[in-house]
Structures are given as structure tokens and as C-alpha cells.
């Protein structure tokens, strides 16, 4: 695959959003048979933010969280916060956006897509749709955005937002300690020439549905160890494919932005890819696993901390339920 385009794309703005309520490992140990050390050693997570459920303030029953009253629920609200920040950082008004893509696996309603409520909240004047590739959603969205730009659009708002607290069984310590809520957003704009996306890979193995799933109206069910080893392998293969297509080596990568699922996965992946773990973005210690929000959140966080300069190569790798995977090599800068 050779990326042939005269309409490349670059990221010109970024933003994040988190719910207010912080849940520490100690908070969870009050109702679950777990403790801070166990959680930190196995996942790297210290705290997470949640918008719904028994730990929210005030507590909400996640199974009956209301349909958006007046049109906006928790996923759209988080998405709005991140999107506003991204548009502001890009210096754009709502009418400047040509398309909005909301990457989420926790929509606020079955129908319509949550991007509808988000579009109304942001006063956008363009098309919008939801994209669900679980935790790989954002990178899928980035590749999709680059395609839309290739075919003529100029400015795309791409958001990853999740209310995973809504589908977590808060009595199941296997999943309750892992997931959190958040949003991250970027503005992607066209530039003449190749642009930032140098190589990418998207994939899915549908035979692995059963290791991580959530039925409609049900809770997330996860076989942690099986997900761990499948994830490590899938990410490594996918990252290598994207790097080969971009004609770069692991040494060339200045910043690795993996899906923030578990620090042990990130450690294992870095070791095998040959990317020093110090070059990896790491936000999951304070957000937990936020599915499609994790990569844009971690990317924005790293940029805001001054970890990337123009011209630096970024490797983004998502992996998740499906099992899906997606990687992209992105040259930072305008």
C-alpha cells in the first residue's frame, strides 16, 4: 500500500475532557475484594474518572441512565468539552467544520447516533456520524478522516468519547477496576502534499468476540488474560505493518501513543517493538481504560506537556473488542 494523495492532512487542534468524579483504587476496595497495590501492579491504574454508576456523585443507576434529556447525555457531554477545546486550539468556529466523526462504543442512545446530539450542542453545520471500532475507534477514525480529506473535505472534527461506567458491572472486580470515562478530540485539516499520515493498518478478527464483549443492555464481560496476550500480539503486528508502510523503524518513533488499557500491555509491547517505554504516552494511571477516548486523550496530554515537536514521528496503536486493531504513523506538525 502506498499512500497516494495530493491532499494530505495535519492535526491543527486538540482537546480533552474528563468527568469531575475521581474514583481511587482505595474507593473501589471499599466494595470490591481488591486493593490499591493489586490494581497498580496488574494494570498501572491509580484512579479513574466516572460520570455514571454507584460511585458517581450523585450516584446513578447505570442500567437506567436516562435518555439524553433535552438531547445530550454523558458521552455527548464529554465529547462536547473535548471538541470545544480542540476547535478553539485550531482557531475554528463551528461553521468551519466540514464533517464530524464521533468514535465511541458507549453511545447515549441506540437511536439516533450520539453524533447528532453532539452536532447540535456544538452548532455544527455539516454531516456527522458515529464510528464504533471499540478501543481502536480513534485510529480507525483518523484513517477515515484522512480519506474524507483526500476526497475533498477541508476540516474534520474527530472525537473519541466514552461513558464506559454505564456498561461496567461495579460488582465485578475484573472490569470495575479497569475502565473509566473520558473524551479526546482533534481537528484534522487538509494540506497540499502528503501530510502527516505516513502509514497505517486497520484490522479485525471477529472470531475473538467472546473474549471482550457487552450485550445490548448488559455489562462488559472480559477474559483479562486472553485479552492481554491477544492484544500484545495484535498491537505488535499492527504497529510493525504501519511502520513498514511508512518506511520507518521503531528507532524513528519519537512518541508512542498506545491505547491506554493496561501498563503491563504497554510494557510488553514496547519491549518487543524496541521502543523505549519512556517514549510512550501514559495517562492510564489517572484515567483507567477509556476505550476510544484513550488515544486522543493521551496524544493531547503528551502534546500539552511538550513531548512532541514539529517533524516528530508519532506511532498510534489501538486494540480492543472485536478483536480490532489499528495503527498509524503520524508526522506531527502543520
Amino acid at each position: 500500500m502506498d499512500i497516494q494523495t495530493t491532499r494530505g492532512c495535519v492535526i491543527t487542534g486538540w482537546g480533552t475532557s474528563l468527568p469531575e468524579t475521581v474514583i481511587t483504587n482505595d474507593d473501589l476496595s471499599k466494595t470490591l475484594d481488591t486493593n490499591d497495590q493489586w490494581i497498580r501492579e496488574r494494570t498501572g491504574i491509580r484512579e479513574r474518572r466516572i460520570a455514571t454508576g454507584p460511585f458517581a456523585q450523585p450516584p446513578t443507576d447505570p442500567r437506567t441512565s436516562p435518555s439524553p434529556p433535552g438531547g445530550i447525555g454523558t458521552t455527548a457531554t464529554l465529547a462536547e468539552g473535548a471538541a470545544r477545546e480542540a476547535m478553539k486550539s485550531a482557531g475554528l468556529e463551528p461553521q468551519d467544520i466540514d464533517l464530524m466523526i464521533l468514535c465511541t462504543t458507549t453511545p447515549d442512545q441506540s437511536v439516533p447516533a450520539t453524533s447528532s446530539a453532539l452536532s447540535a450542542a456544538l452548532n455544527l453545520r455539516c454531516g456527522a456520524f458515529d464510528l464504533n471500532a471499540a478501543c481502536s475507534g480513534f485510529v480507525y477514525g483518523l484513517v477515515a478522516a484522512s480519506g474524507f480529506i483526500g476526497s475533498g473535505l477541508n476540516r474534520i472534527l474527530l472525537v473519541g468519547a466514552e461513558t464506559l461506567s454505564r456498561i461496567v458491572d461495579w460488582d465485578d472486580r475484573g472490569t470495575a477496576v479497569v475502565f473509566g470515562d473520558a473524551a479526546g478530540a482533534v481537528v484534522v485539516e487538509t494540506v497540499p502534499g502528503k501530510g502527516s499520515l505516513l502509514g497505517w493498518d486497520l484490522g479485525v478478527d471477529g472470531t475473538l468476540q467472546s473474549i471482550l464483549y457487552g450485550d445490548l443492555g448488559g455489562y462488559l464481560v472480559m477474559e483479562g488474560q486472553e485479552v492481554f496476550r491477544r492484544a500484545v500480539r495484535a498491537v505488535i503486528d499492527s504497529a510493525r505493518t504501519a511502520m513498514e508502510r511508512a518506511k520507518v523503524d521503531p528507532d524513528d518513533i519519537a512518541l508512542f501513543v498506545p491505547h491506554q488499557a493496561n501498563s503491563r500491555i504497554i510494557d510488553a509491547v514496547c519491549a518487543r517493538l524496541g521502543i523505549p517505554v519512556e517514549r510512550s504516552a501514559m495517562t492510564l494511571d489517572r484515567t483507567g481504560n477509556t476505550s476510544a477516548a484513550s488515544i486522543p486523550f493521551a496524544l493531547a496530554d503528551a502534546v500539552d506537556r511538550g513531548r512532541v515537536s514539529d517533524g516528530d514521528l508519532i506511532l498510534m496503536s489501538g486494540f480492543g473488542a472485536g478483536m480490532t486493531w489499528a495503527s498509524a504513523v503520524w508526522r506531527w506538525g502543520r
Binding site: 501492579e41 496488574r42 477474559e223 488474560q225 486472553e226 492481554f228 496476550r229 500484545v232 500480539r233 503491563r264
Partner: protein, 79 residues
């Protein structure tokens, strides 16, 4: 491959993945108590063994594996 060579190879994987001294990897060493390995360490060890020995290990086969000897028996049966 003979048993001795196989065990040496096994030991190498364990040393690398679990970050322990080779002397500690004895047949009766328990992963949890003696080698300070948790469940995710075991998953990583199995991945390394699969790559090293070119075998496949199903998740289900790991159930009940608590000692080095049990893990090694599992591996050598596949060689």
C-alpha cells in the same frame, strides 16, 4: 531436542520474562511464591515460550500450572 537442552531454553525464557536469577528456576520452584510471578507474568512467559519453542499453548492449558516443572512438562509434551 533433548530434555536438558529444552529445560535450558525454558529457563532462559523464564529468566528474561520473570527477571529472576537462573539458579531460582528449579523444577519445584513455584511461580507465585518463589519467582514472584503474577498471572500476567505467566501469560507473558507463555507467549515467550510459544515463540521460543514454536508451539501453541491454549489459555485453558495453563489452569493449575503452579510450578516450573508443571509448566515445563506442558511445553515438552508439545515438542
Amino acid at each position: 531436542m533433548d530434555q536438558e537442552a529444552a529445560f535450558e531454553k525454558f529457563k532462559q525464557c523464564a529468566v528474561e520474562v520473570l527477571q529472576v536469577e537462573p539458579e531460582k528456576v528449579t523444577p519445584d520452584a513455584r511461580f507465585g511464591d518463589d519467582l514472584d510471578a503474577d498471572s500476567l507474568d505467566l501469560v507473558e512467559l507463555v507467549m515467550a515460550l510459544e515463540e521460543s519453542f514454536d508451539i501453541t499453548v491454549d489459555e485453558a492449558e495453563l489452569e493449575g500450572i503452579e510450578t516450573v516443572e508443571q509448566a515445563f512438562d506442558l511445553v515438552s509434551a508439545k515438542l
